[in-house]
Structures are given as C-alpha cells and as structure tokens.
Subunit: 323 residues, 2 copies
C-alpha cells in the first residue's frame, strides 16, 4: 500500500473511538482545456468533517446541519469510499462520519469530491496512514461514482494531493502534480443547479480531429505555462473549443462574464467542472477582486442569486485540523 | 518584424553576391501524442545549403547533386518561402539556393522542412537578420504547403528554433519552446515512401471524445515530463491512441520495432512525422545503440532496406557554418 509513490509518512494507528477533524476543500476540474484530466485545489470554500474510528465493520453517516444527504453509506459520497477502504483492511474497523456540508452539491466546485476526499484522508489518518495517496484517490472515486455515475478523478486528485494535478490515466491510475505559480482564483456560483450527469449527457461522443488538435495544443501550453510561470502563456492557453461551446449554454451570463472578467484583467478562465460555477485566474489579489466585482455586477443585473469567492490555489489539499 | 518575440540579433546586411552555408537539420514531428503541435530538432542528418544574395528580385534553385528537385521556385520547398520573403522586402533582392539534399523526401524526418527552414534562416542571415524567428516560420510554412498541401509548422518550428517546440496555435502563430533533458534519439528509416498527403488522407475527420481525452492527458504528461526531466513520465506519456493505430499500418514491422525497442531500454517512441521513419528516445548513448541494433535486426529479417541514425536533440536548429 504505502510502498507506492506519494507516500504519506506512516504513524501509529489511533485508538478506537479517536476522532479527527478535517477541512475538505473545493476544487476546479477541467481548467478549461483539460477536460477530465486537470484539476486545481482551492483554499475556500471547505466542508468540515469529523471522522471517528469504530471497532466494528460499519460506516455511519451523520449530516451535522440537517442537510438532506443520503445516509445509506453505499449511496453517500463520503460513505462509498469508506466502504471500499474497510473492505481492504484486516480486522473489525469502521468509521462514523459527521459532515458539515458547506460546498453546495451541484455547484461545480467539487462538492462530492470534497466529501469523498475528506472522508478517506481523515480515515487514513486514524489508521496511521496505512494507505498511499494514490490508494486514497482510488477509494474516493467510488464517491464520484455515487454522485455522477462516473469514476472520474479530476476533482478527487487535487483535493487529496493539493495544487494542480494532471490525471494522465485512470487505468492504471497515473496522477502527476503540476507545479504552478501563486495565482488568485475568483469563483462565481450562480444559484442554478447543473447536474454533472446532465452536463455529461449533452456532450457529443465524437469530436472533430481539428478541434482535438487545438485542445491538445492548448493543454500542452497551459501545463508549460504553469510549470514555467509564464502568465501570458497560461492566459493564451485557457481556451476550450470542445466542451465550453456546448456546456456554457446551460449557464446564464457565461459569455459576458468571461469577456468582461478578461477585460478586468483576469488571465482567463471558464466553466468550473461541469458548472454552473465560473472560475477566473488572476495574477494578484486586486485583479481577483476587480474580477469578483464584474461577476457581481453581471448577476445583479441578470437578477440571479449567486455566491462569489476570492481565493488562492491550495497546495495542501484536505487538511487535518484537529486530533 | 524583429520587434516580435524570439528576436535574432540584428547585423549589417551582407553585400550583394555574398554567400552563406547552412546545415539544415532533420526533425521529428508529432512526438507520438502531439499530432500537429509538437516537434523536435535532431543533430543528424542535415541538408547542406549555400545561399547567395542577388541584386534582382529573383529566386534561383540549384540541385547540387543532381537530385530531381523541382526547379520552379514556387514549386520548390526552399523556393516558395523565399518568394514570400522577398515580397515583404523593399528593393531588388533575390537569392540563389544550392541544395545538397541529404534528407530523403518522404522519409518522415522533415526533409521539406529542412529545405524551407535552411533557406529562410540563411537568407535572413544575409539580410542582417531583418526578420524574427516567428516571421521565418511563417515564410517556411509555404514550403510545407508546396510539399504536402498543408501549411503545418511542426517540423518547421523546431528546425528554426531548435530543441522541442510546441505550436500552440497556427492562427495566430504561437510557438512555445519546451525545455527538455539531453536525450538520445534513434531513427530507423525503412526505405519505403509514405507521402505526407497520403498519410493525412487515411486519418478520420472525427475522433472519439474518450480517445481525445486520453491524448490530451498524454501530451500534458509529456510536456510536464520534458520540462521537469522526469524520464519515467516521458516514457508513460509516449502513447498515441488516435493517429498511430491508423498510420502504423503503412509501416512494415512497426509494432515489433516499438515493442522490442522498449524492451531494449528505450523510453518510448513511435512514428516520426507521417512516417515511415520510426524514432525512439533513450536516456543514454549505449541504450540508443542497443535500440539501433534491434531496429537493424528486425529490418534485416524482414528484408527491407533501411537507414539508421543515432543522434541527440539539436538545441540550435539551422546552423550557419560559413560566411
């Protein structure tokens, strides 16, 4: 288990009854031209979770604030990964998970991934880090399957590894951390729900080769820009000719937000995950705040409720905040 | 002109009648998962070209060794770029180009690009580097149009810039140099001709989205591997699920060469450009030679004539060797 890459330092397993608290952060999947393969971890917002080690093979899910989460572990995005995890552990162990859900499901900033990743990172901490990060991603993907029917890792991987991650391959799992400059991220979440499964269904199964070539030129440019701290190249590469033209139709105000945010100084951005949230990258905080103001002005005018966040890239991922 | 990025140091223009000699190197386009966007410059083989500055608006093409090149400048891969170049220059200037063709047309290692790039770099030297590298790529692409009907830059750009280049976009032209470790390159050129235009025609115009996703995960991994000197990641990312399965059918022995070269220690490789040459990357010279021996053994057994080269990445591109 822990012999794999990205090992987490092993510790003694905690006693039965021990509780750990974790902050499970929001993430931006796809990053415009990296559909299904790129993701980025944010400092805000976060789910807060408490995980307790039990002495029986059982998963208990508790919604702390009355949010209507499925309480059957197999149907819960935090529960399903833990079911997989305890099936790979010897002995009678289980977990009780209390979830303070702060990241709204269906927002497009990795709500289900936060629950899944927070659960497995917290549980692994209680087990003395028995499993590797790659194992944790593998378990957490079962939560995504519950949420959207597909075991994708583009939110899970950055939530567990922190920073920006490339999922080069799912079978076999190959996660590549991509170093990036300290960028600011502005998010607007217009209060309409876009279900990941619906957002997947409207995509065509085939794409034009010439569009695919444009897309792989852009993702190559984006990765080179991130690693080499080339902000202009990052900006030029944040272009999606395949997914965005289809999915942006589901998001009122999208084209205007994108255009005006870039005019306000954003490097670029687009749909966060499958939407409806929109993210924009900026080189500094004043620009990120100017971008936020543009977003507010547009959704005030459209008359749609929204939340905004101005945050930064979270290099740590899920954080243990209390033992 | 020279105010653009990648400026070449300006010099005084040479006198009419001056001659420059250039070495115009072979290049590997596509690099497996970067169809139409990635290319790599080699130290060998090279075309040798002599370019003479004339005092009339005229392009003269001379084939030094009787190789049957088209002598009409507009139909010649070295001539067409120079026609474009002199049309953007004031005054009565022209060039006489003598070509010692060493890189066989139709080999898949950038024969037409070498002629085009060598011509424009040499001519620009005689003009005191009036034009930027990006201008030179723009001119040289007219040579590719003559050769294959398409103005692609994936051989031209590395031939002019050296090293590995990403052509993120053709319109507008956006060339991104990709730093890479000092790798060894083994090439085998089985002596069959695959015309670029034929190799393009057998490609489907549409590809499965799931294959395109795999491809952009791989190119992102390859670029990250090159920049971060991660040889294992480079190896894992050298996978092409879209072009290679179709084009490799045109190359006898391809699957066996690829499999056996990797068993001999190559990081990976595939079709060079549109073939029939096959390239393999290795971490050191002994491995590159072992890979060459595998290639020789296979084509000796198949009974097909071939050439092999063991070389390295050429960071300079077209080189002025004599004034």
């Amino acid at each position: 288990m822990n012999e794999q890459q990205n090992e987490i330092p092993a510790q003694s397993p905690k006693d039965r009854g021990s509780i750990v608290k974790v902050l499970a952060p929001a993430t931006v999947a796809n990053l415009v031209c990296g559909f299904d393969v790129l993701g980025m971890c944010l400092h805000e917002p976060n789910d807060l979770m408490e995980i307790k080690l039990l002495d029986e093979k059982k998963i208990i899910i508790i919604s702390a604030d009355g949010y209507p989460l499925p309480l059957d572990p197999a149907q819960n995005t935090a529960g399903a990964p833990l079911v997989e995890m305890i099936n790979e552990m010897p002995g009678n162990i289980g977990f009780e998970v209390t979830i303070h859900k702060k990241i709204k499901p269906g927002s497009g900033i990795g709500s289900s991934a936060a629950s899944a990743a927070g659960a497995v990172v917290g549980a692994n901490h209680l087990l003395g880090n028995f499993f590797s990060k790659q194992d944790l991603v593998r378990f957490a993907m079962f939560g995504e399957k519950v949420a959207s029917g597909v075991k994708h890792a583009d939110n899970i991987a950055p939530c567990i590894y922190g920073g920006i991650t490339l999922i080069r391959s799912i079978h076999p799992l190959d996660i590549v951390p991509i170093p990036a400059p300290e960028l600011f991220v502005t998010i607007v979440h217009p209060q309409i729900e876009v279900r990941t499964s619906d957002a997947r269904q409207i995509l065509r199964k085939e794409v034009l080769l010439k569009d695919a070539i444009k897309q792989w030129g852009n993702i190559a440019g984006l990765v080179a820009g991130f690693i080499q701290n080339d902000l202009a190249l990052i900006g030029r590469s944040l272009e999606d000719v395949i997914i965005e033209p289809v999915r942006s139709i589901l998001i009122p105000g999208f084209d205007e937000v994108k255009l005006m945010c870039k005019q306000a100084g954003a490097l670029g951005g687009g749909i966060s995950g499958s939407g409806p949230s929109i993210f924009m990258l900026s080189k500094d905080e004043p620009t990120a705040i100017a971008v936020e103001n543009v977003m507010k002005e547009i959704y005030n005018r459209i008359g749609l409720d929204y939340h905004t966040y101005v945050t930064t890239i979270n290099q740590t991922g899920v954080t243990i905040i209390d033992n």
